[in-house]
């Protein structure tokens, strides 16, 4: 018993010494699930190029990422929504936001007898999700879809049942375009008190319910829709144009607002101005402590951020994430020096 303990501790000790001698930097991170595919790709490629840096990322959700970062159990976090002033106030140390990639949310639907692409006005989407527009042939939907024969059927609204960055982006958009939504349901949040509809778990749950339920509408991530060939509708942007979501339109949304992005990068880019902008887009962020005591970890994180902004962005489109616009990359590169 004692002998085996001794052996175990010896082995562990040796392993620790070996790790220290190699100068391996182990970084632990946790947070958002939406950017997980691109993050794991980045961390893997970065590790191949820099064998002495290993980053473990747990995609436990934005809320968990923020809490673990505040508790100091991870070296950095990741979130689909920027931290609120209240959350930043609760933290014992300063936290910096670094946008990494862009994502978008699209409406998907299943209407009996309608196979074409539908246009959704901002009012229509808000009304449907508020439960004030209940029929598919409602004038607010019909006027944007001349020539499409919409049935006089009840709309079955589908939303996410789990807390999610996707819901955050979707409700952020609805709260911006509809006063009623803001009053009744509130601002952007990872989960809200839905006035109408059914809940599905995850993108796959929402897609499954929409596919199975006649005359239903749901919202899913663009990346999920593209990868699984799920048809989705066009959404009216701030300029009044109906735009079908694609990666260029999402990057355009970020570029359009680049001048208005605040110093700390905590910004919502839903309903951004510009004729080509897709209006339901958002950044996702890495959350990095402004002060990192461990010099090796600090340098590793800074170097990774620099790499992510240049090399890393090249991997985005292969995984259907939109690239950051040039203006944002330039500003982020400057902001890296704030990490001390």
């Amino acid at each position: 018993m004692r002998k085996s303990l001794l052996i175990v501790s010896l082995v562990l000790g040796l392993a620790a010494i070996a790790a220290a001698q190699n100068g391996t930097v182990l970084l632990n991170a946790a947070g958002a699930t939406f950017p997980y595919p691109i993050y794991s790709k980045w961390f893997d490629v970065y590790h191949t190029a820099h064998p002495n840096v290993q980053i473990n990322y747990q995609s436990i959700g934005s809320g968990g990422g923020i809490r673990q970062l505040q508790a100091g159990t991870v070296d950095f976090g990741a979130s689909d929504g920027p931290m609120t002033d209240e959350q930043l106030g609760q933290s014992k140390f300063k936290i910096l936001h670094f946008p990494t990639v862009l994502g978008a949310v699209v409406p998907t639907y299943n209407i009996v007898g309608v196979s074409g692409e539908l246009n959704f006005t901002q009012k229509a989407l808000a009304g449907i999700y508020l439960g004030t527009i209940t029929k598919w042939d409602d004038p607010e939907i019909a006027k944007a879809n001349a020539g499409v024969k919409l049935p006089n059927a009840d709309i079955v609204v589908v939303h996410r049942s789990d807390g999610s960055g996707t819901t955050y982006i979707w409700t952020d958009f609805l709260a911006k375009v509809s006063e009623d939504w803001k009053k009744k349901v509130g601002n952007a949040a990872t989960s809200v008190n839905w006035p109408a509809g059914l809940g599905g778990k995850g993108n796959e749950g929402v897609t499954g319910l929409v596919k199975q339920t006649p005359n239903s509408i749901g919202y899913i991530e663009l990346i999920y829709a593209v990868q699984n060939n799920i048809p989705y509708g066009k959404v009216q942007n701030a300029a009044g144009n109906f735009v079908k979501a694609d990666l260029a339109g999402v990057t355009a949304a970020a570029a359009a607002d680049a001048k208005n992005i605040p110093e700390d990068f905590r910004v919502s880019i839903t309903n951004a101005p510009g004729p080509k902008v897709y209006p339901i887009s958002s950044f996702t962020w890495l959350l990095i402590p402004a002060q990192i005591q461990d010099a090796a970890k600090r340098e590793a994180i800074k170097d990774f951020l620099k790499w992510m902004l240049v090399e890393g962005q090249k991997y985005n489109e292969g995984l259907t994430y939109a690239q950051l616009p040039k203006e944002v990359i330039a500003r982020e590169t400057k902001a890296i020096s704030l990490i001390q």
């Binding site: 436990i60 809200v192 509809g197």
Partner: protein
């Protein structure tokens, strides 16, 4: 506990060396006593620590909502207003539906397998049933979403609305829009999940009923069915009840399978076809992204409520067993 301590102190010689220790080890009794006692105490410790953690971490929510938490029908993370009523309702309704379907089915299967089927057939079938009990719940959820939900929406739901829906009183259970997802669908999927537990445990218990009991009944002129229903089943009653509570516990705490087929809308509606939500499915869905402190605290209080429900139901079950213990069968 003190009795154990005195026994051991008693046996230990004043100069207890390694040799004395070894001798007692060979004897085994005290050691076994000590080890089993420790493990039994460990269960108590784990349970009390669980309750303590749930209690302590739900502090914020308890302080803000108090008893209102049980009646409030709103779950609004955006405006920090939380109530458990729809989830408590959903948990109780889906579990009740599941038991209503699973108990007759499970008990009948168990009786057939233990009393009527040839031993070889019985062994093969119960092997398969044990396999069913080991299937992960997400598989049942997929089964639910791809098979049960469409059938509910296109066939069973409309059929129920047009038949039972017109019967006075019962009709309230089967009306309104039928999405395919809801309390009834969740109950059906839960029933499929828990039925293997009932069959497997009940069969084992029925098989332990002594042969003499059956022979005596037959000798008294009872038919085979009479001997089964009036002698064998009452004898095994406690064990059968045990299997039902095991099934109930699984139904109450199920997350994945339920969340995939219940519709996840926190509503309280009489209609079984209406979408709803349960405590366990809500915790599983929302815990990871719960950013606010009060939000998290309320989710933990939901866990506490689920623990309380399980505790109360188990207590009632014990009382039921004791109360019905005087109707013949094995002396408890």
């Amino acid at each position: 506990m003190s009795a154990a301590a005195t026994t051991i102190a008693h046996e230990v010689p004043p100069q207890a060396g390694p040799r004395a220790f070894l001798r007692r080890l060979r004897g085994g009794d005290e050691i076994a006593h000590l080890i089993t006692l420790t493990f039994a105490a460990l269960i108590l410790l784990i349970t009390s620590m669980l309750v303590y953690e749930l209690w302590a971490n739900s502090h914020l929510s308890r302080a803000k909502f108090g008893w209102m938490f049980f009646w409030t029908r709103v779950w609004d993370p955006n405006f920090d207003n939380f109530g458990a009523a729809p989830f408590i309702y959903g948990t109780l309704v889906t579990s009740a539906v599941a038991l209503c379907l699973a108990v007759p089915l499970g008990l009948a299967s168990a009786i057939f397998l233990s009393e009527l089927a040839p031993r070889k057939v019985s062994d093969v079938i119960s092997f398969l049933i044990d396999l069913l009990a080991a299937v992960p719940s997400v598989i049942y959820g997929l089964l639910g979403i791809f098979i049960v939900v469409p059938v509910m929406r296109t066939t069973i739901g409309p059929a129920l609305i047009h038949t039972l829906g017109n019967v006075p009183y019962i009709g309230a259970l089967f009306h309104g829009p039928n999405y395919g997802v809801g309390f009834l669908t969740a109950g059906i999927v839960l029933a499929i999940m828990v039925v293997p537990f009932i069959i497997s445990v009940s069969r084992e218990v029925l098989l332990t009923v002594p042969r003499e009991q059956r022979e005596a009944a037959l000798a008294m002129g009872a038919t085979r069915w009479e001997s089964t229903w009036k002698v064998v089943v009452p004898w095994a009653r406690t064990g059968i009840m045990g299997s039902v509570f095991l099934a109930l516990a699984r139904a109450l705490g199920e997350t994945m399978a339920v969340t995939m087929v219940i519709g996840n809308a926190p509503t309280i509606a009489a209609s079984l076809l209406s979408p709803g939500d349960t405590i366990a499915s809500t915790i599983a869905s929302q815990f990871t992204e719960a950013t606010g402190d009060l939000y998290l605290s309320s989710l933990i209080e939901l866990g506490l409520v689920l623990f309380l429900i399980t505790f109360i139901l188990n207590g009632l079950a014990r009382i039921l067993i004791v109360a019905t213990g005087r109707g013949g069968g094995r002396p408890a």
